[in-house]
């Protein structure tokens, strides 16, 4: 399996950066895995295209506002993912929606696409996550490991 695990979001806007924080947390908890690229995608768009090509699976980590309690984690798969990104017209116009559509146009969209979303509480200016969201970052890092195990990719914790 060749997998891209990509956290996206803006670190300067509190909970908006949760996806990137999951990537950092994942790197702290687990050993590097052959065939798995763990990437801080920030708020980039089309530049990320080369990271997508040749992958069997893509695990995206982002905040998703869905009216759930702050910190709640939701999971989307397959067609749900581009549909979700497409219905939002976020200020980040060149974001993931265009990236996924372009990858599809080029025939490079990974066969399996999973999005793990965290419900944010606050997206004001600031570097710190809110408490509920910070707790979920750990949970989601564990969940990424579980997703990888399910794909047949062993994930080992870093020795304490």
């Amino acid at each position: 399996m060749n997998v891209l695990v990509m956290g996206i979001g803006n670190l300067l806007l509190q909970d908006e950066g949760a996806g990137v924080r999951v990537v950092e947390e994942f790197g702290r908890r687990f050993l590097p895995i052959p065939g798995v690229h763990v990437l801080d995608g920030g708020t980039s768009g089309i530049e990320l295209l080369s990271y997508l090509s040749g992958r069997d699976a893509l695990i995206l980590l982002d905040v998703v506002k869905g009216g759930l309690p702050a910190g709640a984690v939701s999971r989307y798969e397959g067609e749900e993912v581009p549909a979700l990104f497409q219905q939002k017209i976020s200020p980040h116009q060149l974001g993931i929606s265009d990236l996924l559509a372009t990858a599809r146009l080029m025939g490079e969209l990974p066969a399996k696409v999973v999005l793990l979303g965290i419900e944010p509480q606050s997206i004001g200016t600031g570097l710190e996550l809110t408490r509920e969201v910070a707790r979920s970052v750990t949970t989601v890092a564990e969940q990424v490991a579980a997703e990888l195990w399910q794909m047949g990719v062993p994930v080992l914790p870093r020795p304490a």
Binding site: L12, G41, I46, L49, I89, S90, A101, L105, P120
Partner: protein, 569 residues
């Protein structure tokens, strides 16, 4: 009666921009540009270590990561009067040039070509005729019948899937779309090829910057790239040779595809040389420093008031007071507390949202002025400055482009045509060709210099007391400046005056419109509810309102709205 249209948000740009126009008799009579997000970077940086500022500023925007990193380290170095080793300048210069070329290509093909090129029409084009057309324009090896047929098939499958995605917001079949199916097919084929080429440019950045999308190799005082001509884990000869092959590939595309395409589209839409000029005070800064002090540059920059090439005043270096003292920002029409017109070092930003008030405050963007006047920034400003300064490669590419357009259009098109909507695209393509030559030259300088020394870093030392610096950078969208005040080694004030602040500026303290606003006046609009022409002009500036919220909102799926309503006289 006139019609008021509101486009909110403008799509295929970075950031959230709203544009309002008043249309009377089929022409825009007045316009307002409004940035809809507040950037709070200065709030985050206060009290931090100036050596770390660039790590935060590169998070301002997903498109401009590299440019905000560069401007930030330069601002701190400027405050410290710190010299940079030559190797570090060359490596930074290569990053800057590779990023700008990638950005220009993506802007033309993926963010703005669809204002001029009709994808649905391309599906009907004859690949044979389109190939003949392409082969008449250049010797590009991928203008073959097979390549064009393959691209057409790819587009057909994509359009048939019903998930238009990137193509969803185009005004297909609009009366202002004029290209033949074959020209559309050729352009769409290059759209796909450009996706490949932009990866090659990105590869240069990831090799030199150690990582993308957020480069890791910068430092206040130089770069962190260890240079060892033999070791494969550092910047070795082998890696540098690979970089050279990437530079060649990218250059081939710029010279044989991008520039000829822009010339062809410019010739077919030559009426657009008559629209969209707006503010003709042009500001750019010198770029690609090739000495340690930032006084000698590969590309000149400066101020060109009222489009007068003869009155060009160069900005001579990173310490030139003409620039540092010339910039002011007004908040009369921006959502901040009060009404002042101040130098960036003196600013304080207290947000104060009112509502959209045509004659009052209506944008989060402040109104910058240079020497008291609004100024247009970007590749057009830069190319005109280079031309005025007698920069030979710029003259060569500009004259070649203008003669290609003239012969395709069947009439003489001169340098004046650049002051327009389509002219901004031409200038960007000309600049890309110039940047490719610059990139090659910086590569050669680096390779020659590492035979002599391998220094890449001078350690910064912060004095007690207050120091001030400005970091200037001629970024893909124009003049970027970061302004820092440091006290006892900590950041006391930080302001970023970004290119789109200049161009998307609201009215200033004298109520003069900003460049977007001025350029829209006089633009013809065939259908008020499908304002393609307005988008053409706004997109030609390559807007980037750098704020990059990334949240998926399931609760309130906003729609792109274009509203048109009648306004009584």
């Amino acid at each position: 009666m006139s019609t008021r249209i509101t486009i909110d948000p403008v799509t295929r740009i970075e950031g959230h921009l709203r544009v309002d126009c008043e249309i009377s008799g089929g022409t825009v009579t007045d316009a307002w540009a409004s940035g809809q997000m507040w950037r709070g970077i200065e709030v985050i940086l206060k009290g931090r270590d100036p050596r770390e500022a660039w790590l935060f500023t590169q998070r301002i925007c997903g498109v401009c990561t590299t440019v905000h990193a560069i401007a930030s380290v330069r601002a701190v170095e400027n405050a410290l009067n710190l010299e940079i080793p030559l190797n570090a300048q060359y490596i930074r210069n290569m990053l800057i040039a590779a990023h700008a070329i990638q950005d220009h290509i993506v802007h033309f093909y993926h963010l703005s070509a669809l204002d001029w090129v009709d994808v649905t029409s391309a599906l009907k084009g004859d690949p044979k005729k389109a190939a003949a057309l392409g082969q008449g324009l250049s010797s590009w090896h991928l203008n073959s019948v097979q390549e064009l047929a393959k691209a057409q098939e790819k587009l057909k499958v994509f359009v048939a899937s019903g998930q238009l995605g990137i193509f969803a917001n185009g005004y297909w079949g609009h009366p202002a779309m004029k290209l033949s199916p074959e020209v559309n097919l050729l352009a769409c084929t290059h759209y796909l090829q450009a996706l490949e080429v932009q990866r090659r440019a990105n590869m240069i950045i990831s090799i030199l910057g150690s990582k993308t999308p957020h480069i890791q190799n910068l430092a206040v005082g130089g770069v962190a790239n260890p240079i060892n001509t033999d070791s494969p884990s550092t910047l070795s000869v082998e890696r540098l040779l690979y970089v050279k092959s990437l530079i060649d590939e990218v250059g081939d595309f710029v010279n044989n595809v991008y520039l000829p395409d822009v010339c062809a589209i410019g010739a077919f839409y030559s009426d657009w040389t008559g629209y969209g000029a707006g503010i003709k005070n042009y500001l750019s800064v010198p770029e690609f420093p090739i000495d340690t002090k930032g006084t000698v540059f590969e590309l000149p920059g400066g101020y060109l008031p009222n489009a007068a090439l003869g009155q060009f005043k160069p900005i001579t270096g990173f310490h030139d007071k003409y620039f540092a003292e010339g910039v002011n920002e007004s908040i009369k029409h921006a959502w901040y507390q009060g009404d002042w017109d101040r130098h960036p070092w003196q600013e304080e930003t207290e947000p104060h949202y009112t509502d959209f008030q045509d004659r009052g405050k209506y944008s989060w963007v402040k109104a910058p002025t240079f020497r008291g006047a609004p100024a247009q920034v970007g590749p057009l400003a830069n190319v005109l400055a280079l031309y005025a300064a007698g920069h030979a490669p710029t003259k060569k590419h500009a004259e070649k482009a203008l003669s290609t357009v003239s012969s395709l259009a069947g009439s003489r098109v001169g340098l004046d045509a650049l002051h327009s909507t389509i002219g901004r695209h031409a200038a960007r393509a000309i600049r890309a060709a110039v940047l490719h030559e610059t990139l090659e030259k910086q590569w050669t300088l680096l390779v020659q210099n590492i035979g002599k020394d391998t220094a890449t870093f001078n350690r910064p030392e912060f004095p007690k007391g207050e120091i001030r610096g400005v970091g200037m950078h001629e970024a893909p969208r124009g003049v970027l400046s970061h302004w820092v005040v440091i006290e006892d080694g900590k950041i006391k004030n930080y302001q970023a005056v970004v290119p789109s602040t200049w161009n998307a500026s609201p009215r200033n303290s004298k109520d003069q419109p900003g460049p977007y606003e001025a350029s829209l006046r006089g633009t013809p609009v065939a259908q008020a509810d499908k304002p393609l022409e307005v988008l053409r002009t706004v997109h030609s500036f390559d807007p980037c309102l750098a704020c990059a919220i990334h949240l998926v909102d399931k609760e309130h799926p906003e729609a792109i709205t274009v509203t048109a309503r009648e306004v009584p006289e």
